[in-house]
């Protein structure tokens, strides 16, 4: 299937809800950040330790969630096409929380700040975490611009999900060091 038309060659793009907007539009920035986050998670998945088979499956689910989130962000909330979108449900946040809790059972409590790094998979998880925080900030800015009282429930869930995903990626970074026996780099102030 052909994926390009060239319709965007002059600096505008089409939202899922049909509006033509500048590629610098906040909405495009927001789903662009989520897209970037998704790509970094793809590179994280490619360097997972072999012991982390179940993490690979989790990351695939998260990548699907991020595509779903991208569709919501590419749709102006008051536009009719929101009816075509599947609800982004609260159980997705629940899924992240469960996996965070399970990983944490294996980790020592934090005694200070850690420096992002260690095993290559841990370092990659930290990159994803920081991209995730940026995506979250952009979504907050967008929601402020759109007037968050009027937004569908799915948007609120998207925001909760991105917040929890950063936490998941932080814990995952630690867990990857744990699995590979690499010491966590600690901040010596």
């Amino acid at each position: 299937m052909k994926i390009y038309t060239g319709g965007g060659d002059r600096g505008k793009t089409g939202l899922f809800s049909g509006e033509r907007v500048a590629k610098s539009h906040l909405q495009v920035e927001a789903y662009g950040d989520v897209d970037e986050l998704n790509s970094t998670i793809g590179s994280l998945a490619a360097v997972l330790p072999t012991k982390g088979a179940d993490i690979g499956e989790q990351l695939r689910l998260i990548q699907s969630d991020l595509l779903h989130i991208g569709a919501w962000l590419a749709t102006t909330p008051t536009a009719q096409p929101t009816a075509l979108l599947e609800e982004f449900a609260a159980d997705r946040v629940g899924f992240l929380e469960n996996t965070i809790d399970r990983m944490e059972e294996n980790l020592h409590p934090l005694s200070g700040f850690i420096l992002p790094g260690g095993h290559v998979s841990s370092a990659a998880a930290h990159v994803s975490r920081t991209v995730c925080r940026r995506a979250e900030r952009r979504v907050v800015a967008l929601m402020e611009q759109l007037g968050s009282e009027q937004l569908p429930e799915s948007w609120q869930q998207v925001l909760r999900y991105l917040n929890r995903l950063s936490d998941y990626l932080f814990v995952l970074a630690r867990y990857c060091n744990h699995l590979t026996g690499v010491d966590e780099p600690l901040w010596k102030s």
């Binding site: 299937m1 038309t5 319709g7 089409g14 899922f16 049909g18 033509r20 096409p81």
Partner: protein, 217 residues
């Protein structure tokens, strides 16, 4: 998400024009779709997408297919005998009509008319339709659109008699020179080049319009 695979049977193949035919397929009982959506026909090696031209309530599924010269899949579809079985997944896509206060302008080239036929059969009315084809022979579904469109504009790009009821030229020419200024909901379906060119014209001449597109090839 796993797509459900359906099986259907070829009920009838009908000639629409020298290069185009319509297939009627039996409709699996539990298959539903929205006008404008498409199905993906599957065989062992290949898969190809086709927009449905029937209304959701109709008893058969219908496809409007251009027989592509040297096209491998369309050659087998064209040769298929009544009773042949096909598998498909679907419905796919989001190219569905969204009723708003803005007037709708449908722009199609060739078989890109298919999703609009389904919408018209499902009682969408009042739209302007531009159908770009090389020859008047390819104005399939003209009767349907004469009866349902607010304005139906066949755009003939090849040499044709000078009948006044057609626009002589490409759909882009009509959008640029004839379409009254306004804010519209544009629905574009067909060739990539048409979708690109019309999108640029919309950005230039009809800012604040909405644009939805479905690329066939």
């Amino acid at each position: 998400m796993k797509q459900q695979i359906y099986t259907c049977e070829l009920q009838q193949s009908t000639r629409l024009s020298a290069g185009t035919f319509e297939l009627a397929l039996s409709r699996p009982r539990d298959f539903t779709f929205q006008p404008g959506q498409r199905i993906r026909l599957l065989d062992r090696y290949r898969e190809r997408d086709y927009s449905l031209v029937n209304a959701p309530a109709d008893s058969s599924l219908r496809l409007c297919i251009r027989r592509v010269p040297a096209g491998s899949f369309t050659a087998s579809l064209h040769a298929a005998a009544t009773g042949s079985r096909f598998q498909f997944s679907g419905p796919h896509g989001y190219f569905v009509f969204r009723s708003t206060s803005r007037p709708a302008v449908f722009v199609a080239t060739g078989t890109g008319i298919a999703p609009f036929a389904s919408m018209a059969r499902a009682k969408t009315r009042g739209f302007t339709l531009l159908h770009g084809v090389k020859s008047p022979d390819d104005l399939y579904y003209a009767d349907l659109f004469h009866a349902t469109a607010g304005t139906y504009v066949p755009c003939i790009s090849g040499k044709a008699s000078t009948a006044a009821r057609w626009f002589h030229g490409r759909v882009t020419g009509y959008v640029e020179k004839e379409l009254p200024p306004g804010t519209y909901d544009f629905y574009l379906c067909g060739r990539t080049e048409m979708i690109r060119d019309v999108t640029w014209l919309i950005d230039e001449h009809f800012p604040d319009s909405n644009v939805y597109s479905e690329i066939f090839f």
